[in-house]
Symmetry: C2
Subunit: 123 residues, 2 copies
């Protein structure tokens, strides 16, 4: 079995580093069969997902997250739950979020995001 925890940890670090530095570059992590739910907004396919991410209404963002919990699925994918906080632009109020990813492998063995559910957590 693949080292799912190592793959998940490496993926999550890469994902948020890319998100926080140049989020258009996240395009490489999605494919045509990718699905995203972003604050209950449902998107399908790498193009629409990348466009959604590129057009989010902030310039700067910084994600800080805690542990990365991962499991292999019954079909060899990897499911991940991340909880953390993010700060946008010059705000001083961090927003709490939770995000679930399912990573699958493409024909060349590369891992990409098949499912992505992002949710701000409001208290």
């Amino acid at each position: 079995m693949a080292d799912f925890q190592g793959i998940a940890t490496q993926f999550v670090a890469h994902y948020y580093t890319t998100f926080d530095s140049d989020r258009k570059a996240l395009a490489s992590l999605y494919r045509n069969d990718s699905k995203m739910t972003f604050e209950s907004d449902q998107l399908a396919g790498g193009g629409p997902i990348t466009e959604k991410l590129a057009n989010l209404p902030f310039q700067k963002v910084l994600h800080k997250y805690g542990g990365v919990d991962a499991q292999p699925t019954a079909t060899g994918a990897i499911v991940i739950l991340v909880t953390g906080q993010l700060v946008v632009d010059d705000s001083t109020a961090p927003l709490s979020y939770s995000q679930t990813f399912v990573l699958g492998q493409d024909a060349t063995g590369g891992w990409y995001v098949q499912n992505d559910i992002f949710k701000l957590v409001v208290f």
Copy 2:
């Protein structure tokens, strides 16, 4: 395609109602290939998972959750992210949590929990 959102909403309602009334009865929702990560504690198989849940150190618990975000996976499973709060015993301090489920179908078409990641969210 199955009505994944309807199945997810119904499942989550059933799951927490059962959890809050008689959590030993959650046994019926897990199988031998089920995996659980509970606060980073990793469990595999319906027996160990049910035992873990039965032995959690509280008598009473009440879950309140917000919206249920669900997607079909590439292989016909359903991935769900729930965020909510729970109260144990006579505590007056709700605890925030996030939980990810992957539901798969057994040989008779019934849905069960293949993956379960539970995490308390601390701020």
